[in-house]
Symmetry: C2
Subunit: 294 residues, 2 copies
């Protein structure tokens, strides 16, 4: 990847693109490659973040950078250069053709096996149209995650709570959901505690009380969830972390999956049973938290 001169335009003429941190210039996604001996390729040994960008505004950039640093520490990776990641991300978005929604991925790999030099790059991708999921909701199944709810405390080498590139299991869970006629998953611990989705946090409403699973359960601290909690606080609702059971989901007055790309998707069906969907309220949360609809 060396030898590229710093002459690429930041003028919105690119489609989906990549910026390698050691180069700093946008390259088209189709021509951006990593060596096959990179541990990201051979071992999924790295971390990532996905950041939503709406009309050019990064959503919760600081919280994503903080989480990247947290994941790096959990994997004993050298501290990532957050300023370089941020600069690459901003340059990448400036170079990309304007779109209502973009998704910026930060990737940080342990690097080529044996070299011990980590590598980082960012991708800027055109966001898919999430409007139907945001408006009408998604069908979700609960699946066993196999671990006790306290596994992050007892067995940190299992990397629960780190956002690693080893996501084969999360993709397998989504295929299992599809087999069951659903589009998404909520994982439950082996001792029946609600955890998170493969790529989302969980938000549950009972009356005026909103709850999300505690982050000491070996789940990711949700950046979208944090933004929504800020909104709920400002609206005067009680919003808190909690230990939740599958029964709490089944009895919910509202259930949502929160993530950086889709942002807020109501759950309209859980394990085949319909759940109430309050579309105007979801719209209010999207507008107050993220300025949507634009």
């Amino acid at each position: 990847m060396k030898g590229v001169t710093d002459t690429a335009p930041d003028d919105g003429s690119f489609g989906d693109l990549v910026v390698f941190l050691d180069e700093g210039v946008p390259v088209p996604l189709a021509s951006a490659a990593v060596n096959v001996a990179d541990l990201a390729v051979t071992r999924g040994d790295g971390i990532f973040e996905s950041i939503g960008v709406i009309d050019g505004r990064f959503i919760e950039f600081e919280r994503h950078l903080a989480r990247l640093a947290h994941s790096a520490a959990m994997l004993d990776l050298p501290e990532p250069d957050l300023e370089a990641f941020e600069a690459a991300a901003r340059r990448g978005v400036a170079a990309h053709r304007p779109e209502p929604e973009l998704l910026v991925k930060l990737l940080y790999s342990r690097g080529i096996e044996g070299d011990d030099v980590p590598s980082g790059w960012i991708q800027v991708l055109t966001g898919p149209d999430h409007s139907a999921a945001r408006r009408e909701g998604v069908r979700v199944v609960t699946l066993d995650r196999g671990y006790r709810h306290d596994i992050a405390q007892t067995s940190p080498w299992l990397l629960q709570g780190a956002k690693t590139l080893s996501y084969a299991l999360n993709k397998a869970a989504l295929r299992e959901a599809a087999r069951r006629g659903a589009e998404d998953v909520i994982f439950v611990s082996s001792d029946d505690v609600v955890l998170e989705g493969p790529t989302a946090n969980v938000l549950v409403r009972h009356g005026d009380r909103f709850r999300t699973p505690r982050t000491d359960l070996g789940i990711l601290a949700g950046t979208t969830q944090a933004a929504v909690f800020d909104t709920l606080d400002a609206m005067g609702f009680a919003a808190e972390e909690a230990l939740l059971s599958p029964a709490d989901l089944a009895s919910a007055d509202g259930l949502w999956l929160l993530s950086s790309g889709r942002l807020i998707a109501p759950v309209r069906e859980l394990d085949g049973r319909p759940l109430p969907v309050d579309a105007p309220f979801t719209t209010t949360l999207l507008e107050k938290s993220f300025g949507l609809p634009t």
Copy 2:
């Protein structure tokens, strides 16, 4: 990767190299790259096999190919073209500079996100010198794997028993072993059943009885273990699959880790307590099973 003509030599002039299945010709490892949007890179969403090659002889090639197909099925990947993998591997080894031991990795990825076209390639790598580990043994710690012993039956979406590219956890476990002054790990289920190492199977000896954990425990069916069992059978020993407890390891007359690169490594210390090492017997197994020392 396209446009390479089929003129590369198979004459042993290469160092470590890669053969992409869709090209068929060896390329130097340092110049072999995959697109950053390949799901192997972004999600660890693929599978692999590592095959030992001693003096040009592939060790247990058929069993590795069968396991690759098994992993592909578990991940709902299209059936891999095993003949193409085998041809690429043989061509790659022929092109590589002769070494006493080589390691051939087969990699099969789900491919570029959205394209749904899997990609496959093989790597031929110079094997490290494992003689000290084979002769003197390794220090091992047991670590909790977090799952019940029956998880592969109850929750197949957790992919236990598939050899995926999502190995960040296995690498984290090896770092935890290093923190504890050891070189390797034996995972134990949450309900105290011995499973496997991050990259090895377990062999336990009590008297003339040899046992290895059952493959219905969500562990990989060991190719090296199968070869050693063939040898033990031929030598007149009882060799069988079993449910083993950590106490069975602590009381062992001999304990080994079996894997494709290192082949057979005696465990000389388990969780800080010494275990008996029978060096001549290990040498016999290496010789009868794999023709070592060469």
